[in-house]
Amino acid sequence: MEFKHIVSILIGLSGGIAVGGGFVAFITVLGIIPRLVQLTKTYKAVQAYEMSVITGAIAGSVGTLHMFTSSLPGVVTVPIGLAAGIFVGMLAAALTEVLNVFPILTKRIGQEHHLKLLIMAIVLGKITGSLFQWLIFEGY
């Protein structure tokens, strides 16, 4: 093994550690896993969820960095797309929540009891924006 290979391994490994650490920290700060645990009352499965996130991240990086393909029917991508969407939706919700948007906004306009309505505005806006982008916007 040449010197340049050793250097490459070192760079790749440290890059991976940095990115992986950052990824886990990000997920942790946003509190998505605790939220899912709370919703499903599966408090004992937290470790299993950790493993799921780790294996998912590894599978994702292997899938994108090394080009290998399978030939499954297109319908298989439907549940994957849905799961990806739910996850990103939770990320977006968690971000809005961390940034404290709703308490301040509803208080300012004196509409604390219309909170649900305003959340639905954001939710529907996200769905519409996303569909608009895929169906119309990207075509131009």
Partner: protein
């Protein structure tokens, strides 16, 4: 004969403009029954046009009013020493126009930011690559991923806020409810500490206030 009354101020309560707050509106009382019913009727404060959105009432003001009517009573105070009264203003048509405006603002803003996010992280490329990875065929517009993805986005947000289910999945408060509560609590604490009533007679005449 002395009776001991225990008094606990409510941290927060709501009142309307012009309403006279009675002792029973701002505090919970415990003691001899006949005395408590009499005490409950003591007026503490009348909300006038000079008050804006919140009124902070100090425990000393409350004690002053009680001693005005019952000079010999002995009161033990439990809990907070200030109470914040939120004044409810009647809703006008202006606020509903405001609501519609904010709704549209949030809707458009949410749509735009998710598009920005997708562009930023090359979501389209990722979807195309994912489609190729699974099916082995190139597809410039992998709608089988994109449409479920878009609806999943909404489902995920709703799940996080726990709001679509009228019957909750469980009794724990959602993160947003906690956040609202914390925010309100911070406002009330701020008001209680900065706007508390320093005008009661006992305070001015018997002790020299540190701020003077």
């Amino acid at each position: 004969m002395n009776h001991r009354i225990y008094l606990q101020l409510f941290p927060v309560q709501k009142a309307e403009m012009g309403q006279t707050l009675l002792l029973s509106d701002v505090a919970r009382l415990e003691g001899k029954d006949t005395l408590v019913t009499e005490l409950a009727e003591i007026p503490i404060y009348t909300i006038g046009p000079g008050d804006k959105s919140h009124v902070v009432i100090d425990i000393l003001t409350v004690l002053q009013s009680i001693h005005h009517w019952f000079p010999d009573i002995e009161i033990d105070v439990v809990g907070p020493t200030q109470t914040v009264t939120e004044i409810e203003t009647p809703r006008s048509s202006k606020t509903s126009v405001l609501l519609v405006f904010v709704w549209i603002l949030l809707f458009v803003g949410a749509g735009l930011t998710i598009m920005n996010f997708h562009e930023d992280v090359s979501m389209l490329e990722v979807h195309q690559k994912l489609h190729f990875l699974i099916t082995g065929t190139e597809n410039k517009q992998p709608l089988f991923i994109q449409i479920p993805y878009s609806f999943g986005l909404g489902i995920g947000m709703i799940l996080f806020f726990n709001h679509i289910f009228k019957k909750r999945l469980n009794e724990e408060p959602s993160p947003l409810e906690l956040e609202m509560h914390q925010y309100n609590q911070e406002i009330n604490r701020y008001l209680a500490e900065t706007e508390s009533d320093r005008s009661s007679k006992t305070w001015n005449s018997n002790t020299s206030s540190p701020s003077s």
